[in-house]
Symmetry: C2
Subunit: 312 residues, 2 copies
């Protein structure tokens, strides 16, 4: 059996797993990310995590076919240097060279969203697809693009930033500095903004009541009201999904992929999310007469990032 | 010397050329497109055009390495069938199988915008680039995507429709049925709409005067006023270029290509078009700290479609 280790470096957590050639995680461990601290501490945490996995599996580094890293931001695949990562506060961090001092195996690196998309293609909801665009709806909107079975990330390894494509020119401010990005309309942050606005206009609504009871409003509260048939919640979710579908339609018109994979915590809502997106695609896609891609829910959750990282 | 013939089928004109291995057109001929008539007439026109080129060059079909077709719409590359082409009014036209009855050489087909982009990569302003996105600003907005030296057009050969990505959700109606597409803001049609609106609000402007004198307003009139320093024309062009740059920034954030090539008649304005786009990119691109693509003017004009078609 061939083994690899995949490491998913997020802003709050570093997760690593031993992945077998069936693309299954056979052992998984994680530690909190010491974001903002000196990068050498984080590198040391990653190395210790990898060593722990090797020790518990009674493996040596030499037994691995490779180690792969999925890291938020942009990394130079050749040099293994993280060029920048806003989540980690990193600029030009020699992550792979440092790890190579500890582990004498091939070590590769790519963007975490790309790794997650590759994970879904290798072992998840897009298994067997040659082309797939994955969007992850979370605090932001991440994107991973798989073309011809491989991650596409552009000449500078910073491509696939589908969250930072403007769909409402002059609209809501985005974290990237532009106005009206897909992320500013399709992130859960955006859903909460739309729901709060709708609830404020309808203080009689169940949505408003939940907001007041909990002191704040989050995705769980919004979908609780939604499933209790609260019209205000339904309207807010419909508004949100219109923009999700608007951005997804753009991506279909550009890529015409086999599959669109939707990930992030919100995708647990399944067809509540997927059906309106599918309907809007069927109406709006440019060459709908020829074909429409499958729109599916990501199935691997956080494991996608680990499995994909192992194979970047 | 190796020769190929490239054919560019547009809505108004069919242009074909004999292309040598230096990617130069050594002989070029064209005929009007009999759009809307029975497709067999158009196929016959194309075959005659190819035969004329062979005859004038004292070549036989067997001397060609291949024939390539760039055709508006979506075609199945494997079967050579044009699945649909709105410009030609075609559905499921067996173009390549019909041409093969006349010429016993390999015949390939792709979208005309993709062929033009490939032409610019092979012999024009993006020569030597591995990745390039070309947008053609005309009556509509065409897009051609070259990744790793090859045309990318998705699982159904209808990808790269970058003109039909919404940048102003709920905005101006687009020919595709959506509202707010890049095409509805970055085509010359859109520029004329913006200029007419600006001129109507400023009847004292030179722009308005040119419109009235000519009975209508076109790109030439708008840029005449622009170069005469008419503020109304300058404002309209600035508004238009903001949207051009908005869409180009989206494409850069998705693809991070080496080059962005801007084609279409309007690109003859050179830096008047390119500089504002470059400035907005330098401000708005997601990872501008890492790199920015070159934004260049297409240099081959209509020849790009012929040269690229020869090599699809």
């Amino acid at each position: 059996m061939e083994y690899r280790i995949g490491v998913d470096i997020g802003g709050t957590k570093i997760a690593a797993g031993l992945v077998n050639e069936e693309k299954e995680i056979v052992l998984k461990k994680s530690v909190p990310t010491r974001a903002g601290e000196n990068y050498s501490l984080v590198v040391s945490d990653i190395a210790d995590l990898i060593q722990d996995i090797l020790d518990e599996s009674h493996l040596q580094a030499a037994d691995l076919s490779g180690i792969g890293i999925g890291c938020a931001g942009a990394s130079d695949k050749e040099s293994g240097i993280v060029l920048f990562s806003n989540n980690l506060g990193w600029r030009d961090v020699p992550l792979v060279p440092e790890l190579k001092k500890r582990f004498d195996v091939p070590i590769h690196i790519d963007n975490d969203a790309n790794a997650a998309a590759l994970g879904e293609v290798l072992a998840g909801s897009a298994k067997g697809s040659r082309s797939c665009v994955m969007i992850t709806l979370g605090t932001g909107v991440g994107g991973g693009i798989i073309l011809d079975g491989k991650v596409y990330d552009g000449v500078n390894h910073a491509g696939g930033e589908v969250g930072h494509t403007v769909i409402v020119s002059g609209g809501e401010m985005c974290t990237c500095g532009r106005r009206g990005c897909f992320e500013a309309y399709a992130s859960t942050t955006a859903l909460i903004r739309m729901a709060k606005k709708a609830a404020t206009a309808h203080p009689e609504s169940r949505l408003y009541q939940i907001w007041q009871e909990n002191g704040d409003l989050n995705g769980i509260g919004i979908f609780t009201a939604y499933h209790e048939n609260d019209q205000t919640a339904k309207d807010a979710v419909a508004e949100y999904l219109f923009y999700v579908a608007e951005g997804v339609t753009n991506l279909v018109n550009i890529f015409q992929p086999e599959k669109i994979v939707i990930g992030g915590g919100i995708c647990a809502q399944g067809d509540v999310i997927l059906e309106p997106v599918r309907r809007q695609l069927a109406q709006d896609v440019f060459c709908k007469e020829v074909s429409l891609p499958d729109v599916v829910q990501a199935t691997l959750g956080n494991d996608a990032g680990i499995i994909g990282a192992a194979y970047v």
